[in-house]
Amino acid sequence: MDRRAFLATAAVGTATLAFPHVLRGQTKDPIRIGFPSPLTGPFAVLAEDQKKGAELAVDELNARGGILGRKVEVLVRDDQLKPAIGAQRTKELIENEKCQFIVGGLAAHVQMAINEQTKKSNVLFISVSQSDEISARPDGGPLTFHEALNPTITCRAVGSWVAQNLGKKWWIVYADYAWGKQCNMVLSETLKKNGGTVLGATPYPLGSAEFSAHLPRIQAAKPEVLMSVTPGADNIAFLKQAISFGMKKDMKIAQPLHWLANAKQAGADVMSDVYGGINFYWELQDTNPSAKRYVESFQKKYGTPPQDYGCYSYSAIMEIARGAELAKSTDSEAVAKALRANREYDHYKGKQWWRACDNKAFQDMWILKAREAGKTRGDWGLFDVVTRIPGNEELERTCAEKGIA
């Protein structure tokens, strides 16, 4: 081969290596789903569960031939719990990796930044974490779907049950940021509707982990229920400190959400007898056939039972598959329309459905109570199921209330 030909080949070869997507042909490309999630940072454990749920979904789909005969890939990216990074990763996933769909987000503010990018590029986005705004104006849109529970639904459900079963005089401690404030507002409203009183509400800066300054006042007020709207590490710190002040003996403690990983980290001594809401708990497999199938599949792949947040990403990816099969296309608008036209689905716990006006998923949830030390079953059997709260559109704001015509 003479020098020129060699150089030409080398140039082409290098170019192909540098820009590998040139190599791929047009047909039978894999379907790529981008997945931004906070793999580093304080919620890394939840993000890990999200990732596992997503990868399980992809495995199951590929085992039965993929979507429309094409292999499915999920591309996970670290959004570091920061909106700017989430937006940048989303741009990369769409522009560079040519993802057809985006699923993801853990923090509400990051989801909304991701959503701005997917809206700009007309890509279907299914959000898999708590947020009230993502399905309302101005954030929501025809290509923005919300799979997870949100503060309104969670707090109305948990709030009503607690007011009717545990006590009507509450003190609320809440993290002073969007999720905390929304929960506080909805919980207060719900309590009042149930004839109760909010004795006091204490905001605290998210992540501060130092609650002792608040506790003497709360003790003095003698509430029947202490409502703890404290996410992540704050939750454990708060419960520990409340217990050290002797408060568990004097009142019931409840929180809008339980997280299985959180309960494991805290230990039964801290968590025992605390009530909370959840979207999924693996022991439901005993009574729920969808749960049984899902838990077995997860257990087989990972060796541990599924937690809570992973279910959302699993379900979201399954929904993309279902929508694409129905629409016979990977075009985002077609898939979105297909999902709205065929609203019901059941991937891991029972019937769920999309509300057409705001692309909001409705689903069952449960109230759990953490078991005492000595009564837990193995590493993960940390809760008793108290009751099921069926999916109900009345637990959510109406589309009109969300600013959608």
């Binding site: 940048q88 522009e95 909304m112 930044a113």
Partner: protein, 323 residues
Amino acid sequence: MIARARMWVERHPVLSFFIFFAVFPFLVPYPAVATQVLTFGLFALGFNLLYGFTGLLSFGHAAYYGLGAYGTGIALAKLRVGSLWVGLAIGVVAAVVGGAIIGFLCLRRRGIYFAMLTLAFAQLLYFIGFHLADWTGGDDGLRGIPALPIWVPGIGSVRLNTSLAFYYFAFVLVGLAVAVLRRILDSPFGAVLQAIRENAERAAACGYNVRRVRWLAFVFSAAFTGLAGGLDALRLSVVPIESLYWTTSGQAVIMTLLGGAGTFFGPFVGAGIFLVLEERLSLITESWPLVMGAVFMVFVLFLPKGVWGTLLARLSARPTPGE
């Protein structure tokens, strides 16, 4: 040949910038990353004016970045001014006003006290931004920034709806900022600035009003940083509350150091390295902050002049300040 190229770049820094960044989007895998290098580079450029050229370490540069971002964002989203240019201008003005006031208050102290005061004011702004949720969106961030078309004289209305189009829009603005910075540094004011960095007492003895020069440098620095913030508001279509948090200030420090404090192109080189590192590393390992921290430490210990600074020092026979 390299020496000749280097001398040409040294003599025509602004032109070099324009030439390189005109083709830059085609040298990287996708245009969005090129735009990021531009805006982050401008942020570091603003910081570098104060740190590298004036010798003042500020811990609170996120304040001007945030003021620029929120100024532009609020103007476009809440006040609905119909023009991208006006929105950006408002952002820059907000940053300049903030810089003027905060600079005036902080420059009464020096050294670490100065640095801590700049941090205090930045955190104060963060707190205000967090709680004025009706205007800023609070910790959800400011959304609803419209992607308006721009009016270009001679061409008409241009929609910036592709990544590449937005890149060239940012490219023009950042290029202008770079040109302005060059003018500042080449002017008598610029000479006094660097004199003060080298030896403030001597500059004062020569009759220069050190405090006033520093304050002006602070204000210019805030202007550049504010423009970066405004551009990012447009680039991301959101203004996250973290824009005002001290970790954002930290990023400017890291990028400037990686590139080379006190050099002209250092900030852009540093921004590029930082962004590439962050993106590529996070694909390889979830422990990428460890690698990033280690790399940073290596730089402080062995490459204190940064990549660009070390390159310049190696290539030159005599040291050339202000490149």
